[in-house]
């Protein structure tokens, strides 16, 4: 691949964000290849050296793109990582497909809010994450999996993330949910982390909610720790937008 082709690849990656190609596509130097589970497609993402990535912004005290509703977005990412990263001792990519309700069961534990509010916040967050390549959300099948950007997290970051993973509640669902959903979630759980044993008992639920705040705090970290490096930076068409002013728009 000659130099102008390589330059075009880098520019394209910047303009498009993570993009999928046929498996045989030759990638330019310095690109990460993340193979899809079916091995037919591959994600190509530019890999920045450790001292030249987006995370440098933090060290320099500079602002990257702002994410709309950063807290809800971070919580959702935490919930998806908790559910889709089946075994934290294993590689994070590609992770497993998880039912939306399972993700919501984790997300709900992060705050004691009105169901309607939670639902709206969660939908907004998952859309933002999806458009930025952090998660892949199949809206029709209501299935979520980790996005290619999560596959760029390096080992040092994953170590931190593992701790957080363990501190988050396993996917579960409230008792009042339909029984078949419960089965689905158990199915999802048995492949990986969310073992049935670790599911909180009904009476623990209240306690869990009380803990929500404390759980919610660490969950901001997954974003600030790992994603951040990747996060702020490449975010192409992503969740960034002015935060403070944001309410003005959607409201009307």
């Amino acid at each position: 691949m000659n130099s102008s082709e390589t330059a075009l690849w880098w520019a394209r990656a910047r303009a498009l964000g993570p993009a999928q190609y046929e498996t045989g596509t030759p990638a330019p130097d310095g690109f990460l290849r993340l193979l899809e589970p079916d091995a037919a497609q591959v994600w190509l993402l530019p890999a920045h050296p450790g001292t030249a990535g987006p995370w440098v912004l933090d060290e320099l005290g500079l602002n990257g793109p702002t994410v709309e509703q950063p807290n809800d977005t971070a919580r959702m990412l935490a919930a998806v990582v908790r559910c889709c990263w089946a075994d934290p001792d294993d590689a994070i990519w590609p992770g497993q497909d998880v039912d939306w309700d399972a993700v919501m069961s984790v997300y709900r534990t992060f705050g004691d809010r009105d169901e309607l509010v939670v639902h709206r916040a969660a939908t907004g967050a998952i859309r933002r994450l999806h458009s930025g390549g952090w998660v892949i959300w199949d809206e029709n099948r209501r299935v979520v999996r980790l996005g290619p950007r999560c596959g760029t997290w390096v080992n040092a970051d994953l170590t931190v993330l593992r701790e957080l993973w363990r501190s988050l509640p396993a996917p579960d669902e409230p008792d009042d949910q339909a029984p078949e959903l419960e089965e689905q979630i158990e199915d999802a759980g048995e492949t990986g982390s969310g073992s049935v044993a670790s599911r909180p008992e009904p009476d623990n639920q209240a306690e869990l909610n009380n803990n929500a705040e404390s759980v919610a705090t660490p969950d901001t970290d997954p974003r600030t720790d790992e994603p951040d490096d990747v996060d702020e930076a490449d975010t192409p068409a992503e969740p960034e937008a002015e935060n403070d002013t944001e309410p003005e728009e959607p409201s009307a």
Binding site: S3, S4, T6, A7, L8, W9, W10, A11, R12, R14, A15, L16, G17, P28, D29, G30, L32, P46, A47, H48, P49, G50, T51, A52, G53, P54, W55, V56, L57, E59, L60, L62, N63, G64, P65, T66, E68, S131, T152, V154, E232, A233, D234, T235, P236, A237, E238, P239, E240, A241, E242, T245, P247, E248, E249, P250, S251, A252
Partner: protein, 284 residues
């Protein structure tokens, strides 16, 4: 991420370790920061030698240094690269977004510029366009405009204007009626050639019958005088192309779709706007 692109090592190979870190940090800061950076913030921007290394680092990655004002810097797509990219990704930004974006450029930059309120060679402006104007002139459903604005803001092509108007609306509810918008920080990433191209496209679209537009068409018809001036540092290993093809105008960098942005909007969107708006004649 063990293997590093050779560009990262080649450009800084001759530097001391400290300078190497400075250049790499400056690269990351330029590429990912939301706003242009003042040179006092980074040694690699202040020091001419290091700046050259930085440029050498950006070049093989399809990027180039862009100077914004006397002391600020950012990075943008190389002109040759942005031409190719915009040809490749013409549809990367939805039509509605392009329409809204052009309206904001017309109201916040083109019209104020013709009144002498905005610098001639800049797409950054402090003249807000209100959401109400956008809905009125675009003749699009309010929801479509709002969705487009959200995407444009996310990509940094548009930003919310700080609400400092002393008018009465402010006192009212903080609904979107009072919201107004400015061109976003990504427009600072346009190279001089891209800025000029965007300006020309806007003139062609909004004032197609003006002598200025005729002059632009005439110049573009002569392939020998490629309408795109070569920026000082960017090399051109691509032979000069007649600029008649859809220009790469906005290499509105980091944002996803942005590449083709500047190009498209003028073509489609304006035609209809031109008639409704007080035609923004960027005076010559």
């Amino acid at each position: 991420m063990t293997e590093m692109h050779p560009a990262f090592t080649a450009a800084v190979a001759d530097l001391s370790e400290r300078h190497r870190d400075e250049v790499l940090a400056a690269y990351a800061a330029l590429e990912h920061s939301w706003q242009p950076l003042h040179e006092s913030q980074l040694l690699a921007l202040r020091d001419a030698t290091l700046r050259r290394s930085l440029q050498q680092l950006l070049h093989p990655l399809g990027r180039t240094l862009v100077k914004v004002g006397p002391h600020n810097w950012t990075s943008g797509y190389r002109d040759d690269i942005s031409r190719e990219l915009s040809a490749e990704m013409l549809d990367s930004l939805p039509l509605v977004d392009r329409a809204v974006f052009v309206l904001i450029l017309i109201h916040s930059v083109a019209i104020p510029r013709s009144q002498g309120l905005v610098d001639l060679d800049s797409w950054i402006s402090n003249q807000p366009t209100t959401a109400e104007e956008l809905t009125r002139y675009s003749k699009l459903p309010r929801t479509a405009v709002r969705a487009g604005l959200a995407r444009l803001r996310a990509s940094g092509l548009v930003q919310l204007a700080p609400d400092r108007r002393p008018n009465s609306q402010k006192a009212g509810s903080s609904s979107s009626a009072g919201a107004s918008y400015l061109p976003g920080p990504q427009l600072a990433r346009l190279t001089p050639a891209a800025r000029r191209l965007l300006q020309e496209e806007l003139i062609l679209a909004a004032g197609a019958d003006t002598p200025l537009a005729a002059a632009i068409r005439a110049r573009r018809a002569r392939p020998s005088e490629d309408g795109i001036p070569k920026p000082a540092e960017a090399h051109t290993d691509v032979p000069p192309q007649p600029a008649a093809e859809p220009p790469a105008a906005t290499d509105v960098s980091s944002s996803a779709a942005s590449t083709s942005t500047g190009t498209q909007p003028p073509t489609r969107a304006d035609a209809s706007f031109a008639s409704e708006n007080s035609v923004p004649q960027e005076n010559s």
